[in-house]
Symmetry: C2
Subunit: 338 residues, 2 copies
């Protein structure tokens, strides 16, 4: 079987460009004993992949040059020489950015077939769901009465985080870029207020205005996907003892050596006794079972809208990835591969 | 009895200057029923007072204009018309910035006389001690093996925080401004390494160098009194799951409308899963009894050096306060009033 894959050709310093990547077609080897051949159905692209393009230590190793990149994907088993997998099985793995591959069975995780659409294992029924769930409920410690602000609320994680808070009965303000996304927050996600940050000269004033509009004075939990000016505004309107789970800082990823200039009011943390905490979903695997049960139930009950933008074919995978940084995608960004 | 007091005449926008204050002499009224007349022995000045000179909401109300400022002090009862106090009693209160006063007995707290020097109730045996104790042990969650970094480690709170970590058996790096203060950290406080931040072009490199010197790779707890570049450097060299109790950000207090520009690497919080938490001692009163018992025992055992700079007389109180922002004082800054 032939497979097209996307390799990292050089390391971008600031914004990633097409020249940093190449598309290569290879022959997928037949599985040896203990190996499985998989045809990918969907892969996901996310901002964290940007970090792995740097050659620096992080919680995951950097991508290797001249090798296919990695990322979460779901696929179907084509051929198996391991007793745990059979042709037709649905599997989750991290060997995205390629159409098909052969790998040791240990790289694959079985997923139940037919209950959810396959790509759900890359959205609410996967690590994206756990990221929202752990950040909102565990790191953020959502508690009765909390007023919630979510940045990038139309994104893959943000849309789930905002909906979890709504399902739990909270007032939620979301921010996103552009009038369509702001409308999406109100109409599809049912948030109490939406801010189109691109239309606002001053995010702090916008947040204060929206808080007033919903009869509130400040926020108690800020789910941060963005950092920068959003974080600055959240600090400015935070109530005492607010908690800021730091899930991402996408505004800060592609600045290269240029220093990001916000927040400029970090000293408010003291008087307001704010807790900011960076986290990654992998540290919260103990929540996996509860998270999956809750997510599936909310989905079945029609309470959870799975926000996703699907691009078609591996040739569009880079376009999908670049779109993360220009705000073109709504919800989780997926690429349909099979 | 006559008393000189220091009033706030106008609100400083950036750095406080003598013109923002005035010294006024008044007659102290005889106590009415339920009131007590006190002659102050020592008052303390601290950076938090800067915040109360702004006319903005915080966890304490702003100072009033044309009235004596307030601040922690210890004094001796001169005359009492309340059964709880008698002449000669040692009392703690927040009516500093004046030589003597008459106030309702409710404003005073009895302190044991003769065990500790009176000013100890303004240093390790007071809120300063609780601030260091709560930040290091509770908010910071100091745990075995933690490598500790303390900024403003020659200051009132910082010197105690650093010593608590040493007493608990940790490796501690302290930062302070100037070679005398750096020597003080090593010789008087017994820290493992000291950084004179004024002599360093790059604090991150200085921290990495000192870490290497003590055989460590990163810090697990950063006790932040300073913010700005110190916080930036601490983020850069932090280990995964590091905790940053935010006790103060003195580098950010007098910037007026000028935007503070650091840290520029806040996005490291995510990958490193760093927890930053602002706090004030008042939220941790439940620790008071344990803190006082530990502090007194450590002091008696000769383990705790009380770092203090004593200025003489109310006429020097403003000089003492201004010195906080130019780094002139070592340890807690006190003014001897009686």
């Amino acid at each position: 079987m032939r497979s097209k894959e996307i390799q990292l050709a050089s390391r971008p310093v600031a914004m990633p460009e097409p020249e940093h990547f190449r598309i290569v077609e290879t022959e997928v080897p037949a599985p040896a004993e203990g190996e499985v051949m998989v045809r990918n159905l969907f892969m996901a692209v996310d901002p964290a992949m940007r970090g792995r393009m740097y050659d620096s230590k992080s919680y995951v190793p950097p991508f290797e040059l001249d090798a296919p990149m990695e990322g979460p994907a779901v696929g179907e088993v084509v051929e198996s020489r391991d007793t745990r997998f059979a042709p037709g099985d649905l599997v989750f793995h991290r060997l995205g950015w390629r159409e098909a591959f052969t790998a040791p069975a240990e790289r694959l995780e079985q997923r139940e077939k037919g209950i959810l659409p396959p790509q759900a294992h890359l959205t609410f029924a996967g690590v994206t769901g756990l990221t929202a769930y752990a950040g909102m409920l565990h790191v953020g410690g959502l508690k009765p009465g909390d007023v919630v602000f979510v940045s990038a609320a139309s994104g893959g994680v943000g849309s789930l985080a905002a909906q979890i808070a709504k399902i739990k009965g909270h007032k939620v303000i979301g921010a996103a870029g552009g009038p369509e996304k702001a409308a999406f927050l109100l109409e599809k996600l049912g948030l109490d207020a939406a801010i189109d940050y691109k239309a606002e000269a001053n995010l702090t004033k916008a947040l204060a205005r929206e808080l007033k509009g919903i009869g509130e004075k400040g926020i108690d939990l800020y789910f941060d996907n963005v950092g920068g000016e959003h974080l600055h505004a959240a600090l400015a309107v935070a109530n005492d003892f607010a908690r800021f789970p730091i899930c991402g800082m996408i505004s800060q990823y592609n600045l290269g050596g240029n220093a990001p200039m916000a927040p400029r009011n970090l000293m408010l943390m003291m008087g307001k006794r704010i807790r900011m905490q960076g986290y990654i979903a992998n540290d919260h695997k103990d929540l996996w079972q509860h998270c999956m049960a809750d997510m599936a139930a909310w989905h079945r009950a029609g309470l959870l809208h799975s926000a996703e933008t699907i691009h078609d074919g591996i040739d569009n995978a880079l376009k999908a990835f670049f779109g993360l940084f220009t705000g073109e995608n709504l919800g989780r960004t997926l690429v349909k591969l099979g």
